[in-house]
């Protein structure tokens, strides 16, 4: 049997993320793939990839916890699950020893989670049943603008005159985008306007308290959104290492807690960079 490792599987609506940590809470392996239509198969592929990166095998898994929409679809490795909100809180509690607000922008959900100075979850909010401000919104807009998602960050940074989009409805925003295209606005300015819209939507969900940290796939691929958020909240917003893996790492930490009930806090390198 190889060295015991602890696994977190975050099966999201858009991407599946797996993180493997050791008993010292160090991230040894990780993987991200499109969730697709077979959550189990995607999770298995992610697990194998991250275990290989960690230099471990499945028989080395001491404990595993799943989270995300597909959390019940990974019985081949675990039947234990936690909510994404719980996992993000667990991750935040480990990494920051102060009051923080975690803003997570996922494929389908936005979450604003507040932790107090002792790492206790004080409150959380999820977006209403609406794609405004989520990854799905940007995906829809990338189709409308006929630009790849991964090109958006660089395009937004080139903007000199941001286009303001007023609606919080994805469909209405798409109409606004078309109207701006018709009026000859530059794609760079429209994309920055879209980013601005995303930040506005998440900031209106709750008022941030303490340090603000952003996580999720959208900010992992579009760090300019974090910079814009910093300007809007009036303080630098933290973009941590592995922002897309925060939930999976939180799940892995829960898995470790299960075998280490005392929950000794070993400070792992923070690794965050001010955005």
């Amino acid at each position: 049997m190889s060295t015991p490792v602890f696994v977190g599987l975050d099966i999201g609506s858009s991407r599946t993320k797996v993180a493997v940590i050791d008993a010292d809470r160090k991230v040894l392996g990780h993987a991200v793939r499109k969730s697709g239509t077979d959550f189990s198969a995607t999770a298995a592929a992610c697990l194998d990839e991250s275990m290989e990166m960690a230099g471990s095998r499945r028989d080395g898994i001491a404990s595993a916890i799943s989270t995300g929409y597909g959390r019940a679809n990974v019985a081949f490795v675990t039947t234990q699950s936690k909510t994404e909100i719980g996992c993000l809180s667990r991750w935040g509690r480990e990494r920051f020893h102060e009051a923080i607000t975690i803003i997570d922008i996922g494929g389908q959900d936005n979450k604003v989670i507040k932790l107090d100075q002792d790492g206790r979850r004080a409150s959380f909010k999820m977006n209403r049943k609406c794609a405004a401000g989520t990854g799905a919104f940007l995906e829809e807009m990338s189709l409308r603008l006929d630009i790849p998602l991964e090109a958006m960050d660089a395009l937004a940074r080139q903007s000199l005159e941001m286009v303001k989009l007023g609606s919080y409805c994805t469909v209405f925003s798409a109409t606004e985008v078309l109207e701006n295209i018709r009026h000859g606005k530059k794609v760079t300015d429209i994309v920055k306007g879209l980013f601005y819209s995303v930040v506005k939507r998440v900031l209106e969900m709750d008022s941030p308290a303490g340090r603000v940290v952003m996580t999720g796939g959208v900010v992992a691929h579009n760090p300019y959104i974090v910079e814009m958020a910093g300007e809007m909240v009036g303080q630098p917003v933290v973009l941590p290492e592995f922002p897309q893996l925060a939930g999976a790492i939180g799940a892995a930490l829960y898995a470790l807690d299960e075998t280490d009930p005392i929950g000794i806090r070993n400070n792992i390198p923070a690794g965050e960079t001010d955005g």
């Binding site: 699950s81 936690k82 909510t83 979850r121």
Partner: protein, 415 residues
């Protein structure tokens, strides 16, 4: 949350008794409408039902029917029919479901009670806007469609303290209904019968209050989900002896549960207050969701809204006016905050869930900052979930589940 063996709330044995009296009620209504032996009045849920009973009407409650449409998950297919004739998907989904059902010639009564083919045809429609403006619009549609009069009471809203001026106003409006109703009923109002109906309503309401307050016990013997079903007699049979007899049976069963230490949910670890309407088409799922989390939703504004302590047989009309005005939905946020805080304390609540119902602004008390204010004062965490009473197009099951699971996690971790 750990995937564990599914648990469900325990069945209340008195339910069979309730089903029988509800069946008797619906067959009685049907007989009145089909034979013409009694006149039929439709009455909004906290309209002047006692007056109608005293005049001998058989009383049908459209909101009860609409809730049945929701609970049987028929409503979402019927609402678009009303939308198509100009009734917006953003207005009351009781109204749109009920009108949609009428237009399609469908009723859950037909399936539940063989021999009943339709809702009872009314001779008069009576509303009280203490619930909302929508009930008046709802009755107005039927009035035009069926050619029957729609009359009612227009209540004040956002009332801090119910004053004599408010009561005078509504009492006069109730009195003004009497000549029209006497004309339709073909009898003069017998004040003794009205006193009796009001007294019976008071007795019913006191028993219903005792039923709900059994949930003060830990573990709670009854859940909100039970309450939404067992409030049926308090809604449609208040003012009658039948409802009183039923609640005595139900109360005895719940008191026995308390003596035996039996909770509605096994291993109750958290106690939740529900603010807002039920999601009728999701009662079972929500009941199981909470039971699996060993959490009991044990008290609510909704079920408690059928407690009317002011009914007084000695002063029937003024006391009806007062009771209808003291209703939670009529009151200001200042009053609502005080009420909710008292409920949280009385039932020793760990967390409060606000249901923001898309089509029911009047029963969605999360929209003007109230949850934040209550949480700041009590320290009791709150959660707002989006949904609807009857329109399942507005419900996201996965979001509800994630929110509720995360909320119960938060409560557990906060201990």
């Amino acid at each position: 949350m750990a995937e564990e063996k599914k648990t469900t709330r325990k069945k209340i044995l008195a339910a069979d008794h309730m089903n029988k009296i509800m069946a008797d009620y619906f067959y009685g209504l049907n007989e009145a409408a089909t034979t013409g032996k009694r006149k039929v009045a439709w009455c909004t849920s906290v309209g002047p039902a006692e007056l109608l009973q005293a005049l001998g009407f058989a009383v049908h409650f459209p909101e009860n029917h609409a809730a049945m449409l929701g609970a049987t998950r028929m409503s979402t297919d019927l609402i678009p029919t009303a939308n198509a004739i100009g009734y917006s998907p953003d207005i009351c989904s009781y109204l749109t479901a009920d009108i949609g059902a009428y237009l399609k010639g469908i009723t859950p009564l037909a399936k539940a009670y063989p021999g009943i083919e339709s809702v009872p045809k009314p001779d008069v429609l009576v509303y009280n806007t203490n619930q909302c403006r929508d009930v008046q619009d709802w009755m107005a549609w039927y009035s035009k469609k069926l050619g029957v009069p729609s009359i009612g009471v227009t209540s004040p809203k956002n009332v801090n303290d119910v004053t004599d001026a408010h009561i005078d106003d509504v009492a006069r409006q109730i009195e003004a209904l009497i000549p029209t109703l006497e004309g339709i009923a073909g009898v003069k109002l017998d004040m003794e019968r009205l006193r009796e109906a009001v007294s019976l309503s008071r007795e019913c309401t006191e028993l219903w209050k005792q039923v709900l307050e059994t949930a003060v016990a830990s573990p709670a013997p009854i859940t909100f989900f039970d309450g939404t079903i067992h409030m049926g007699p308090a809604v449609v049979l208040r003012g009658t002896r039948v409802a009183i007899d039923y609640y005595k049976v139900l109360l005895a069963e719940l008191e026995q549960r308390i003596r035996d230490g039996v909770g509605a949910v096994d291993g109750e670890t958290s106690r939740i207050y529900w603010e807002g309407m039920p999601m009728w088409g999701r009662l079972r799922q929500h009941s199981e969701l909470f039971a699996n989390l060993k959490s009991t939703v044990l008290a609510s504004t909704y079920c408690s809204s059928w407690i009317f302590p002011s009914f007084d047989g000695n002063d029937p009309i003024r006391s009806m006016a007062k009771a209808y005005l003291e209703l939670f939905i009529v009151r200001s946020d200042r009053y609502k905050e005080k009420y909710i805080k008292e409920m949280l304390e009385k039932f020793r609540i760990d967390g409060i869930i606000y249901h923001d119902a898309k089509t029911c602004p009047y029963n969605s008390n999360s929209r003007y900052g109230l949850p934040g204010r209550v949480e700041a004062e009590t320290g009791i965490p709150s959660l707002v979930i989006s949904g609807d009473l009857n329109d399942l197009r507005c419900v996201s099951d996965e979001q509800t589940k994630t929110n509720v699971e995360a909320f119960i996690e938060q409560i557990a971790e906060g201990r």
